[in-house]
């Protein structure tokens, strides 16, 4: 039974208030995840079914967005060649925080079927941090949606903080990017 004795109301510190607001924000964030569809590889072909009428991603409040600034999730759909990785890093750095990354398919995990290719990177989280991996070649729409629900859970549990990781360990990530790409920002006829 609760004590009837009067206890003084504890005053919340600023951090606690911030955390409370952050939790409120988390509710909105996990119920309205906007995707940035960057079709980096084959798994992008299972996204139209999961987005459109068959599986209807909009039920979960998710939808595709046109530009990186507006989006919350960077969906890395499949293998990444070096050329794509460079654009992916540009894109990732343009997104506004908090931002989350989902890696679809087995290729971002360990290279998958292209583990010994000269053009495809083996491990995505060397270059940008990843929140959720969805394994499979290629993952069904069911498992893709399951991955999104996992991301929502981890936002709720405050474990989806890859964007903080990227900010804190920026130098390490930058070094890895440089090792693989040479220069991250390049100048040639396509980037005049």
């Amino acid at each position: 039974m609760l004590s009837t004795k009067y206890t003084e109301k504890t005053k919340l510190t600023k951090d606690e208030i911030d955390r409370k607001w952050w939790e409120v924000g988390d509710y909105f964030r996990r119920n309205s995840l906007w995707l940035l569809m960057y079709c980096t590889g084959c798994c992008a072909v299972e996204l139209p079914p999961s987005m459109t009428s068959a599986y209807d991603m909009e039920r979960l409040g998710m939808g595709p967005m046109a530009t990186p600034r507006q989006a919350d999730i960077l969906l890395v759909s499949g293998y990444l060649s070096l050329k794509t990785l460079r654009r992916l890093i540009y894109t990732y750095e343009q997104m506004s925080e908090p931002k989350y990354v989902i890696g679809l398919g087995s290729c971002p995990i360990n290279g998958g079927i292209y583990h010994d290719s000269h053009a495809v990177i083996n491990q995505l989280d060397q270059y940008i941090p990843v929140d959720v991996y969805v394994a499979g070649c290629m993952p069904n729409p069911e498992s893709i949606l399951n991955g999104f629900v996992d991301l929502m859970e981890s936002i709720k549990n405050k474990t989806a903080n890859s964007w903080k990781k990227y900010r804190d360990n920026n130098e390490w990530y930058k070094q890895n990017q440089k090792d693989a790409l040479g220069e991250v920002i390049i100048h040639d006829e396509f980037h005049e």
Binding site: N31, S32, S53, A66, T67, Q70, S96
Partner: protein, 301 residues
């Protein structure tokens, strides 16, 4: 005075809540049209609040100030909007031309801010938005001037009362051609397909909104909802005889917006030159014909 301002802000807020809910319900309706469930009806609210909770970047003070100017301008416009024929914030300030001028402030703010971002897609989008605005304003104004000529008054409340007085004879029925032009212009104002050229995600990457993210985009969404509220309400008041009580207003509002949305969802979008050519062709001819018929011949049903 302060009470009036408070009521005005209340109307703007009501407009935001109303339009956001109806947009959410419409997303569900369109979802059913597309053989799927559709989102929750309050999804639009979640989207907006999520955007407001995100961190955002800035591209200079014009970029930030333009958004605030757009939102402020639109809220200021919405404050003058009558809801029913006896509920409005500022008595005798519900002149049609107030809306025409004040809504331009909001649009201008958005154009300024989008150009300030320096993204070429945004400049193209702004150019297209202003061109579309030029295109639909002309036929719409001609029809509205006809109405003003018939009623002899440009106050929205007076126009409402005029329609209700003459046996609920709506201008949509009295001026059928003009009503059609009004509806087409409304589709252009709301940015519905086929006149959605300035957002066009697949062509110009959502046009003016290309560089916005986080709080600024949230504010633009609020601005968008309130301006949709203003535009649909204008149509309801001008052509559908306004409303004597709030429920009538809600029903008319819902019908008009849903109809526009349904038409939009089965159409493709025009190119920008086609939009201009379209508006300067049939709606303009129809509007002029309606004006001539109504004013010179006096044939009003």
């Amino acid at each position: 005075m302060i009470l009036n301002i408070l009521i005005g802000i209340g109307i703007a807020f009501f407009g935001f809540v109303l339009q956001t809910s109806i947009a959410g319900i419409n997303r569900k309706i369109v979802g059913r049209l597309q053989k799927r469930h559709g989102p929750r009806w309050y999804q639009e609210f979640i989207d907006i609040f999520k955007l407001l909770s995100k961190r955002s970047i800035t591209h200079g003070w014009i970029f930030d100030f333009g958004v605030i100017m757009a939102l402020g301008g639109i809220i200021a416009t919405a404050m003058f909007m009558p809801l029913t024929n006896n509920f409005l914030a500022f008595e005798n300030f519900d002149n049609f031309f107030i809306f025409v001028y004040l809504i331009a402030v909001g649009m201008l703010g958005m154009a300024m801010s989008a150009s300030g971002s320096g993204n070429p897609w945004a400049s193209i989008g702004v150019m297209r938005a202003l061109t579309t605005m030029l295109a639909y304003e002309v036929p719409f104004l001609i029809v509205v001037l006809t109405i003003i000529n018939l009623t002899g008054n440009s106050s929205l409340t007076e126009i409402m009362l005029y329609q209700q007085a003459s046996g609920n004879n709506w201008f949509l029925i009295a001026l059928p051609i003009g009503g059609l032009v009004g509806f087409i212009a409304l589709m252009g104002m709301l940015g519905k397909k086929p006149f959605e050229t300035y957002v066009a995600p697949a062509e110009i990457a959502s046009g003016p909104m290309v560089e916005y993210g986080g709080k600024q985009l949230g504010m633009l969404f609020i601005m968008n909802e309130i301006s949709a509220f203003i535009e649909v309400s204008l149509f309801v008041h001008l052509f559908l005889g306004g409303a004597t009580n709030i429920f009538e207003f809600l029903i008319k509002y819902f019908v008009v917006y849903t109809l526009a949305n349904l038409i939009s969802s089965v159409n493709g979008r025009f190119k920008i030159d086609q939009v201009v050519k379209f508006f300067y062709k049939w709606p303009l001819i129809m509007a002029v014909t309606q004006a001539v018929i109504a004013i010179y011949f006096g044939w009003v049903i």
